[in-house]
Amino acid sequence: MERLPSWLRQHIAAIRAIVVLTLLLGGVYPLVITGVAQAVFHAEANGSAVQKDGKDVGSALVGQLFTDKSGNPVAGYFQSRPSAAGAGYDMLSTAASNLGPEDVVDVLPVPGAKDDEGNPDTGRQSLLTQVCARSKAIGELEGVSGARPYCTADGIGAVLKVFPAVGTPTRAVSVNQACPATPFVAVYEGVKVECGKPGEDYSAGRTVPVRGGATAVVPPDAVTASGSGLDPDISVAYADLQAPRIARERHLPLGTVRTLIREHTTGRALGFMGEPAVNVLELNLALDGKRG
């Protein structure tokens, strides 16, 4: 060793070091932690499984879809938040939407057009339109108003493209509303608003989102996708919004449903960590228990 040049000695030491440290940090350490964890915190270490009739139905920490085969909400269950993980709550492809806060302009599908694989063109919904559409759908499901600021009555992002980009408007287009839809406003600064023509390039115009006078009833967490794509929780407000439907569908007194919500609400840890949350899977299991 000593007679070798310094650089070579350092590399040999490096190889030996990585082998030794891998055995210690990549072998002994995780195995010991696993051993202790499995012995002391068995349920937690294995994913906090939740059971019904003796069979695993999911994890207390991981949300799931409460929809039927065609993706419609099952009315007797509390619904989870929107999810960007695969087709929804897919643990094999967890994801957030990653759409930005000014993502407000849709790409309208061009009728008859095909993509590279020969499928019909579906366009692309902006985050704003996704939020508006979810709000409208939830409003209908729960029998409340699904209106929101910056949304049209038909659940689309209320956004104009105004031309020219700078100066007095000469043309205004409601870009997210495909013709022959009636634009959500008839006139913008004296200019008649047109409907959006699929396939036309409006990128040169100035983007003007229009707030409108609506106030939202459907809570924020109900219309946004979570970070994990697996959010097990909904807000207390969203659970309360769903309570009348659940009571109706399950023929339970509303008070009973509200009591169940309170029982499955986790407050902030130590009073200040995180936000109060309602665990949807556990709440739905409790509902099933009431019926049985």
Binding site: W7, Q10, H11, A13, A14, A17, I18, L25, P30, V32, I33, A37, Q38, V40, A45, S48, A49, K55, D56, G58, S59, L61, V62, Q64, L65, F66, D68, V74, M91, L92, S93, T94, A96, S97, N98, L99, G100, E102, D103, L127, L128, C132, R148, Y150, P220, D221, V223, T224, S226, G227, L230, D231, P232, T266, R268, A269, G271, M273, G274, E275
Partner: protein, 553 residues
Amino acid sequence: MGATAAGVVFIASLILALGLTYRPLGDYMYRVYSSRRHTALERGIYRLIGVRPDSEQRWAVYARALLAFSVISILVVYGMQRLQDKLFLSLGMPPVTGHIAWNTAISFVTNTNWQAYSGESTMGHLVQMAALAVQNFVSAAVGMAVAVALVRGFARSRTDEIGNFWVDLVRGTVRILLPIAVVGALVLVAGGIVQNFASPHEVTTLTGGTQAITGGPVASQEVIKELGNNGGGFYNTNSAHPFENATGWTNWVEIFLILLIPFALPRTFGRLVGQNRQGYAILAVMGTLALASVVLTNVFELSGHATVVQAVGSAMEGKDVRFGVPDSATFAAATTLTSTGAVNSFHDSFTPFGGMMTMFNMMLGEVAPGGAGAGLYGMLVLAVITVFVAGLMVGRTPEYLGKKIGSREIKLASMYFLTTPTLVLVGMAVAMGNQAGLAAMLNSGAHGFSEILYAFTSASNNNGSAFGGVTVNTPWYDVALGLCMAFGRFLPIVFVLALAGSLARQAPVPESAGTLPTHRPQFVGMVVGVTIIVVALTFLPALALGPLAEGLS
């Protein structure tokens, strides 16, 4: 309590906890790096490695050992990914694609943990725990070793020796990181973070659908990912994933682990140079910048200045209910102020100014408090630049901690400082100038620009977080960002070690009436000012095209 009040208490409790650990942990790390004794385990390791722990190294030898260790590490991590189907615990996953494996190897060895792959569908358990998690430990230990070597340069005089790399590496790993990781991992498991070797198993959900429940040795990796300021998630959604971060309180623990070592190292620095007040001054600089950033990020996220956020009524896109908006903002600030890059919410969907703060934090050079070790040496280089600037203004000979900052020292400090901006801005320019670079954007316009700017900032500063919509698993990005990570890590390290060598050789300069005191609020304010002004001058044009354009339109 309202959400905002709870968020304020959350931040205050973190500050309190870090305040309580500052002295004990800082003193402990001082003893670790200055002790002459070796434990039995360490002596065994030195024998197996074949190094003599009691001989010290000149800076060039120290650097060579560090680079040799890093090159070998890259080859090992690359090889294990490419061969994972031949090894056990691969869960049936195929070998990782060449360019992704290359990018990932550099990413984990450089303490960046940029992820061009999705954990649950790319890496088997063995690669995760025996390749990636091992680098989580040693890359952090390397950063701490470099910081300690630089501090020895200030503390010693008339010597060529700045320590022994192998000793610093092993001690940082087994005496500091490993014990905290063992305790932290078990705390996290108690909170619900999984720790097993299971393959995904299918369950039938309440409505008759199926869901594959994934497993893995997550807690043991999660803890060191935060503690070592690595940030590479076991799963794709990182610390937002309930199996990585299950509750509001595990979220607190993870943020605490992120900030623990970087905020205690100034104490170690103060002890090593024999003046605790110098440690407090550096801590004050870090703390001022960090607190301002955390508060601003919270304010921007809570005020919700953006169209979609106002339509929603809250910045909940990309955030989980159990964390809420304030604690997600605090996590985002902590992870980018350090070199961690773990995320519990998705920065791409943050408000324009909230997202800008995460970028700005990284552009500060990750010095407030920065990565384990990397933050301290970055901050000390900024202190050197500050005494130089101050010296120019009043005509004094610049000196810091009794060492003259001469032409060689200031050249090294300047080259250190210029490395990352050069990588970010040149990389950005090249990306904007070709189709392969532009194709990565998910969002369009200014926000798409921000996605690419974030990617180069994150890679060059060895952070590893992303505006996640960006598509970077392409050969072009894997190569470009891989180069940014490698140069962004190792060039500054070489400059710092050279600086350490140059300082250690000097005889101490006696303090005189002309010496600028470097422990007073005046100096703290100057370092804060220099840091912000230098960063603003460098990056304001780029920020103006991205988040500022988006937020002000």
